[in-house]
């Protein structure tokens, strides 16, 4: 086959998707057609990237372009800076610019799928940043963070698109906040230097704060304060823990570094290990959020504009679970393993059950979805605490699912809110007659959220429950926990189905609803990829699972190792440094600086 013919066949699916996409919208502008077409082509590309055969057969790492992650992370930042110089007076242009940057970002991030996710770090890029404190710019992904990155790049354009539909004021600030937030989230997922991670972690605060506080509802300022202060308390405790671990490593190894690879080799003295674990997990559990630190979430969700809620639910919460898997389990396996049973009980009782029950009693649909997040994230955390292969894989998958389904739910709530400016369930009833498409989509997403087989929710919840049941980390409780979690699924059905029933079926009680228009093009365009993903994950979960399994295994291996070491008394006699193993998990391990730096020299203990 000639190269031209091959190129033609290669390009054909994209062109087809583009053309179909461009033809679908009725009565809309060229630009809108163009946008839908591009979304179509991107979906094909995403699908192609996901397909197992498409991944190159075990390539050498040399094939990975080392700057890919830099491009992915910094593209939004560059976009944000460029945005500052664009005129405030043309909001349409600003919106398009933002969407283009975000779309391009998604496109670029799809290339991450090109690498085979073998054990170890991929697309690693390291450079010195602040040598005198041993801080490096170190980014890389593995099978865990790959999905988080893709989830982010996938969700944010949708969130931004939705937000632009409903927000009318201060568009420039909104675009700026979106781009900054996007970049910071991506950075936090790929950072392997704790300092870098912390910088990105904190950088997320301000744009999210503004998003809630500026474009939010009536109680927005209270919600913004609550969000900021809760998160800040968590991150300050984390900072203290980071500094302690860094200092311990310095005393043991003789050089300063903030690198995750090096710091995860440190065995702390017992009490210190508990405290540092507490510092880290406080930051992450607040973010997840886990009872009793969850109270900021309903406020933030309810007050945030729809776009903000989607980002919050789909991505920001995932930083908590991701952080827990990566840092708490990676660095403090012993304390984490000891706390797991208790915490698992906590998330079942106060997350899955309490969250679901509270959600059930909510009158405000958005609040309901917010509390359902508490319940769903309870499942995720349960899978993480179970620490079995299927538990953690299920948790990761459930993170993606939750991003998709709660993002979609917030979007759908936004649709009705834009029309009626209320979200109270009692205001609606019999909507299925007026808005059939909307009702159908809502029910579909409800199915996904409940976990009906065939949708994505089923796979995730099933794997989590299975993993919990079989977990030997939870000891005697594993069966009990597994059983209870399974029972918890029923509760999800209770609150979701009751709200569907009240809103969509029965007589059309409120005459204000009689003339509501069905979903428009913008809303449908935003929904389409989410629906596609519901089924994609539901039917072909292995597309996702086989890319994460190696990394999950590696994470669990080290976790179990740390747990065994802890039970054999690691850290009982002061701090120590575990020896390095080498191998793919430790590529890029920070080495002592060749020249003795001033800071190291000061202590009198020279680096050996």
């Amino acid at each position: 086959m000639s190269p031209a013919a091959r190129a033609f066949f290669e390009a054909a699916p994209y062109v087809a998707a583009f053309v179909i996409g461009a033809l679908i919208p009725r009565r809309s502008s060229v630009l809108e057609r163009l946008a839908v077409g591009i979304v179509g082509a991107l979906s094909v590309l995403a699908l192609k990237g996901l397909w197992p055969d498409a991944a190159a057969p075990v390539t050498e790492k040399a094939d990975e372009w080392p700057h890919l992650l830099n491009v992915v992370v910094f593209m939004p930042f560059v976009g944000a800076i460029a945005l500052l110089f664009l005129p405030r007076q043309s909001p349409k242009f600003l919106q398009r610019f933002t969407l283009t940057v975000l779309g391009l970002n998604f496109f670029v991030s799809l290339f991450l799928l090109g690498a085979t996710m073998t054990r170890g770090w991929h697309f690693q890029y390291i450079t010195e940043w602040i040598p005198s404190l041993g801080i490096r710019y170190h980014v890389a992904i593995d099978g865990v963070s790959l999905w988080m990155v893709l989830l982010t790049t996938f969700t944010t354009p949708i969130a931004a698109y939705v937000a632009f539909g409903s927000v009318r004021k201060r568009i420039k600030d909104l675009c700026f906040a979106f781009l900054l937030l996007h970049g910071a989230m991506l950075g936090a997922f790929v950072a392997l230097d704790l300092f870098l991670f912390f910088v990105f972690w904190e950088l997320m605060l301000i744009p999210m704060l503004l998003m809630i506080g500026v474009w939010g509802g009536l109680e927005r300022i209270k919600a913004a304060y609550k969000f900021f202060l809760y998160t800040m308390i968590g991150s300050m405790m984390m900072l203290a823990a980071i500094l302690y671990v860094v200092w311990t490593h310095y005393e043991l190894a003789g050089y300063l570094t903030f690198d995750y690879l090096a710091l995860s080799k440190v065995t702390l003295p017992r009490t210190a290990a508990w405290l540092c674990y507490a510092g880290f997990s406080l930051a992450f559990l607040i973010k997840v959020p886990v009872f009793p630190f969850h109270t900021w979430l309903p406020d933030a969700h309810v007050q945030a504009p729809t776009g903000g809620s989607i980002i919050l639910a789909a991505v920001l919460l995932k930083l908590g679970t991701y952080g827990y898997i990566r840092f708490c389990m990676g660095m403090f396996a012993g304390p984490a393993a000891h706390a797991a049973t208790t915490l698992a009980g906590l998330v079942i009782a106060m997350g899955i059950f309490y969250g679901a029950l509270v959600a059930w009693k909510q009158d405000d649909v958005k609040r309901l979805v917010a509390y359902s997040s508490v319940a769903h994230m309870g499942f995720v955390m349960l899978g993480v605490f179970a620490a079995t292969q299927s538990g953690v894989e299920g948790a990761l998958l459930q993170m993606i699912n939750h991003g998709v389904s709660s993002g979609a739910l917030f979007l759908l709530v936004g649709v009705i809110y834009d029309r009626r400016h209320t979200r109270m369930v009692r205001e609606f009833g019999g909507l299925a007659k007026v808005m059939p498409v909307y009702a159908a989509v809502f029910i579909l997403i409800t199915m996904s959220s409940i976990g009906v087989p065939g949708t994505n929710g089923f796979v995730g919840e099933f794997m989590v429950i299975m993993g919990t049941f079989a977990s030997n980390h939870l000891g005697a409780f594993s069966h009990l926990h597994g059983g209870l979690a399974a029972a918890g699924v029923i509760l999800a059905a209770v609150y979701m189905l009751s709200v569907v029933q009240k809103m969509f079926f029965g007589p059309l009680t409120n005459e204000k609803n009689a003339n509501l228009s069905d979903m428009n093009v913008r809303e449908s365009v935003a929904m389409a990829p989410l629906i596609a993903l519901v089924f994609l994950i539901g039917f072909f979960p292995s597309l996702f699972l086989n890319r994460m399994s190696d990394s999950v295994t590696a994470t669990l291996d080290r976790y179990i190792e740390g747990r065994i070491a802890w039970s054999q008394g690691a850290g009982a006699e002061g701090a120590s440094l575990r020896e390095r193993r080498g191998g793919p998990l430790e590529t890029g391990y920070p080495l002592p600086p060749s020249s003795t730096r001033a800071v190291a020299a000061m202590d009198g203990k020279e680096a050996h």
Partner: protein
């Protein structure tokens, strides 16, 4: 020719002293310029100063005077930045290579430590001068004395950081303080300003007297006035000699700490701070919060680490560290809690500067146990200087004549009406709150790291808790600027237009961002300043 010139001790001496000389000579020139340069408007302005209605349309007088004050501001800024540049040049050559300056030792110690502080203080003074160049004309405080005074105060601060002898230390302290008293009371017709100046003056003189008493006791105990000599003498005391002098030395230590803590404005010696800060013209407030505090901390470090470095005095059990730790904790908690309850933004910033003194003191305490701590204090002061001046500058920018932004309410909706000014304000506040990627974050990080190194975990935890409390009130400004709208009919802040203020903010912002993203050079400089290498 060149080499012989450079090797001649006289030239080297001049070079070594160039940061100080630049300010001294520049200040004199500025005085002359001020005296000879304002024949026309003097009467009109004096009429205005005593509260009479100015003759003719307001605009004319203001314009005439504004030009003059602006020129003087430019002159002062040039002099102060020249001081900063000379400091950098001296740093690059290395003060230890300029041996000629040993002739002025120990009265002035030209080492890396003092050159670092000279740079920080000159930078702070320069930015303050630019701010004043916009602020004074706008608020009709047409007093040209401001600028020579500012330069001389900075000179005093420089000399204070370089002082290695009790005599020069006291002279420098008074040079700095006397000028600042005048700067505070510059707004003669305002009762508030007079009250502030008088309060500051009385309490300041009292503190200076206490310090002088401490210094006298030290001299009495050791018979030396140079700090190093006193330190040696104290270290050499033992047995009977110690028996007789222990009380004397301890009292001296206490008095010196009290005197300097007063200048720093740390709790419980902070009572004057909010009033003085609020009553003073805002550029002065910024200058006080920055340069005065920095120089006082510099001399505190010098005194503690040179004079009282002895094991018996510098240890946790018997010496100054617990005292300073107490001051640090009190400063942070009390100032942060009171700051959260303020209505006035300026007063909030005043309390916030007390809280920052607390963070600095954490680093000072840690010097007793960790070598890195001293460098962390230096670096913190640098970051604090640019962030604080930036915040005060943004506050200045947010107000016009008779419409100064005072309370949070005044700032409502500021973010929507003036996005650039609001963005700058938020940026500096975020730096003060210590959120990355700004300079303030690195300052805090470095101090806390040093404290952890010194195993002062509880201090670090208290410091971090305070960061959260502090974040609350910095956030409050953001909340008002971006999330509230002014009440109907209520006055709201309109930003002034001034190239000077804008320039000052740009300079400060560059430093805040630069130190936040690439702090390495500054970190190494701080370490080198301490190690002298």
């Amino acid at each position: 020719m060149d080499t012989s010139l450079m090797s001649s001790p006289g030239v080297m001496m001049l070079f070594g002293l160039s940061p100080i000389l630049a300010l001294g000579l520049g200040g004199l020139l500025l005085m002359l310029a001020e005296a000879f340069g304002r024949p026309v408007v003097a009467h009109a302005l004096e009429a205005q100063a005593i509260g009479a209605q100015p003759a003719g349309p307001e605009g004319q007088i203001v314009d005439a005077g504004a030009g003059r004050a602006a020129e003087l501001a430019l002159g002062a800024a040039v002099i102060l930045f020249a001081g900063a540049i000379f400091s950098v040049a001296l740093w690059l050559v290395g003060p230890e290579n300029v041996t000629a300056t040993e002739r002025v030792a120990p009265y002035l110690l030209i080492d890396r430590f003092s050159v670092f502080f000279s740079f920080v203080v000159c930078l702070g003074g320069g930015i303050a001068a630019l701010l004043a160049g916009g602020y004074l004309p706008e608020h009709r405080i047409e007093r040209g004395e401001f600028f020579p005074l500012l330069v001389f105060c900075t000179l005093g601060a420089q000399a204070l950081a370089a002082a290695g002898d009790l005599l020069s230390l006291f002279v420098a302290l008074e040079t700095m303080s006397l000028g600042v008293y005048c700067l505070v009371g510059l707004r003669r017709t305002s009762v508030r300003a007079s009250e502030a100046a008088l309060k500051y003056f009385l309490l300041g003189s009292f503190a200076a007297a206490l310090m002088l008493f401490g210094a006298a006791l030290l001299y009495g105990a050791t018979g030396r006035t140079d700090l190093a000599g006193i330190g040696e003498a104290i270290a050499g005391l033992s047995g009977d000699g110690l028996e007789g002098r222990a009380a004397q030395i301890l009292i001296a230590l206490a008095l010196l700490i009290v005197g300097l803590a007063f200048k720093v404005g740390a709790v419980p010696f902070h009572m004057w701070t909010p009033d003085a800060y609020e009553g003073a013209p805002t550029p002065t407030t910024g200058f006080m919060a920055v340069a005065v505090k920095t120089a006082a901390v510099a001399v505190l470090l010098r005194v503690l680490l040179v004079v009282f470095a002895d094991e018996r005095l510098g240890s946790w059990g018997t010496g100054w560290p617990p005292v300073l730790a107490t001051i640090a904790v009190l400063s942070m908690f009390i100032a942060n809690f009171i700051a959260g309850r303020q209505e006035s933004v300026k007063r909030m910033l005043a309390y916030s500067s007390i809280a920052h003194a607390g963070y600095v003191f954490i680093g000072v305490v840690a010097t007793s146990r960790s070598v890195d701590a001293q460098a962390s204090v230096l670096f913190y002061l640098l970051t604090y200087t640019v962030s604080t001046l930036g915040a005060f500058g943004a506050l200045i920018l947010a107000g016009r004549y008779r419409a100064e932004a005072v309370s949070y309410e005044d700032l409502a909706g500021f973010g929507r009406r003036h996005p650039a000014a609001a963005l700058a304000f938020s940026f500096f506040l975020i730096s003060l709150a210590g959120v990355p990627p700004t300079a303030g974050f690195f300052g805090k990080l470095y101090v806390f790291k040093a404290a952890i190194q010194g195993e002062l975990y509880w201090l670090v935890v208290l410091g971090l808790i305070n960061s959260v409390i502090g974040a609350y009130y910095y956030l409050k400004v953001l909340v008002f600027m971006y999330m509230r709208e002014p009440k109907p009919g209520a006055p709201f802040a309109t930003p002034m237009r001034s190239g000077y203020v804008a320039t000052a903010l740009v300079i400060a912002a560059c430093f805040v961002l630069g130190l936040g993203i690439l702090p390495d050079t500054a970190l190494e400089a701080a370490v080198a300043a301490v190690l002298g290498g």
